[in-house]
């Protein structure tokens, strides 16, 4: 559904690399919060249900279908994480407007 980026992203720091790197950090921060949320919920569910054995997570081997899903999700995640390095806006605007345009 998302449009292709159409123009360079705005720059706020003297070195545009800082703008882009900050984008990576910001995306990473959002993803970390998504994981923190899921982990907290998962722990609460497992605790309530007493349904997991010690060491079960470390011993778990994903099935083919799950593995493919994990691979695809990791690929999406990496794209999302590093897209800001490209320095492209996701939306269009115009830079200056005069009073009599």
């Amino acid at each position: 559904m998302q449009n292709e980026p159409v123009q360079p992203e705005l720059q706020f720091f003297a070195d545009p690399a800082i703008d882009r790197l900050l984008g990576v950090v910001f995306n990473l921060a959002g993803e970390v919060q998504v994981l923190r949320d899921r982990l907290q919920i998962l722990e609460a569910v497992l605790e309530q249900q007493q349904s997991i054995a010690p060491g079960a997570l470390n011993a778990f081997k994903p099935s083919g279908e799950l593995q493919r899903s994990l691979d695809a999700d990791r690929s999406t995640y990496v794209k999302h994480l590093f897209d800001p390095m490209l320095g492209l806006a996701a939306s269009r605007s115009i830079s200056e407007v005069s009073g009599d345009n």
Partner: protein, 344 residues
């Protein structure tokens, strides 16, 4: 592996980030300004821009404003990717009149307003996306549409109206509370965006408001007759227009008002140099490029130029206490613009 929980968690993070930005980062910026100002008499936003040239806190302030909003709309967790269009059965067509002949004007189509990819006339989910975005624009103030309820209450204080035209109504966030307070009158909302109008009509239907309907129309040429309304309103519309469109809108609003009718617009106005600098910067960062030129206009003169008299411009409190001088958070410089069409 996109999930509803992941979407909610990411947006909760963005809301928290925005709260931090509008309080902590804004507070730090304001403090630095007071130090850097050094007792000088600052009279223009250009002077403020010079003060902040190369300033790291301002760079972070500006970056966060731009990119928190960008993340809300775009990317894997963004509204545009995540939100489905309104289901067809909820579109409430009986409350909505579309006009395929409406041409989207250039001032509107050139910009993805609010950093909304594809803008409000793009994808089918544009109305749902805008509604989701509007609920978190200013956490703590506009969430839950408190602002629009307060505006509707203010409008109610100006008289009893029987025919109301809400120009640039969006998804009806002001038209709906105005209609709910006007049981003896009718309210018509007009907008260019079909996806927004569909959301507006669905909400009017869900609220059981028989006196509220929506039409696709250009606010410069509403299609309504001269003198048809006794009140014209708009909310957050004036600053989204370029100057020619604004002037045409004011002329059109004057035309459709009956003699003695009232116009009440909720928008922004600021002249403090520091706040003007941030407001104009917001226009750039949030893809609202007409903000600076509209803010620079003498709006009373513009209204009078369209024929209005008795112009009043007042600060508007979107939440109690927000207009106090020591308000600690960043906020939009809300203002109401009230004008009358002379009685015949």
């Amino acid at each position: 592996m996109t999930t509803e929980r992941g979407y909610a968690a990411n947006h909760a993070f963005l809301v928290e980030a925005r709260k931090y930005w509008m309080s902590e980062v804004y507070g730090a910026l304001r403090h630095e300004y007071s130090v850097l100002q050094g007792g000088r008499d600052i009279t223009s936003s250009d002077q403020v821009a010079q003060i902040f040239d190369g300033n790291a806190t301002y760079a972070f302030y500006a970056w966060m404003e731009r990119h928190i909003q960008k993340q809300r709309y775009a990317g894997r967790w963004g509204f545009v990717e995540q939100l489905a269009p309104l289901p067809e059965q909820e579109a409430a067509r009986d409350k909505l009149r579309l006009d395929p002949a409406v041409v989207i004007p250039g001032y509107y189509s050139r910009v993805d307003t609010h950093q909304h990819p594809g803008n409000l006339t793009g994808a089918d989910n544009a109305g749902v996306v805008y509604k989701a975005s509007a609920q978190g624009t200013q956490p703590g103030a506009t969430a839950g549409y408190e602002l629009h309820e307060r505006f509707a209450s203010l409008v109610e204080g100006y008289g009893t109206f029987r025919a109301i035209l809400d120009m640039g109504c969006g998804f009806g966030k002001s038209a709906l509370p105005i209609a709910s307070r006007t049981p003896g009158g009718r309210v018509v909302g007009i907008d260019l965006s079909v996806p927004c109008l569909e959301v507006a009509a669905a909400e009017a239907s869900a609220a059981g408001l028989g006196n509220l309907s929506y039409e696709q129309a250009d606010l410069r040429h509403s299609g309504h007759g001269a003198g048809e309304f006794d009140l014209v309103t708009s909310t957050m519309v004036l600053h989204e227009l370029d100057v020619p469109a604004l002037r045409e809108m004011l002329v059109e609003s004057y035309r459709v008002l009956a003699p003695g009718g009232t116009a009440i617009h909720l928008d922004f106005q600021v002249d403090d140099p520091f706040l003007t600098f941030l407001y104009h910067g917001h226009g750039l960062r949030n893809n609202e490029p007409y903000m600076p030129v509209i803010n620079a206009l003498d709006m009373a003169a513009e209204l009078e130029g369209a024929g209005f008299t008795g112009v009043e411009i007042h600060p508007f409190e979107e939440t109690p206490g927000a207009t106090a001088a020591n308000w600690p958070k960043w906020r939009f410089p809300w203002a109401t613009f009230v004008a009358r069409k002379p009685a015949a």
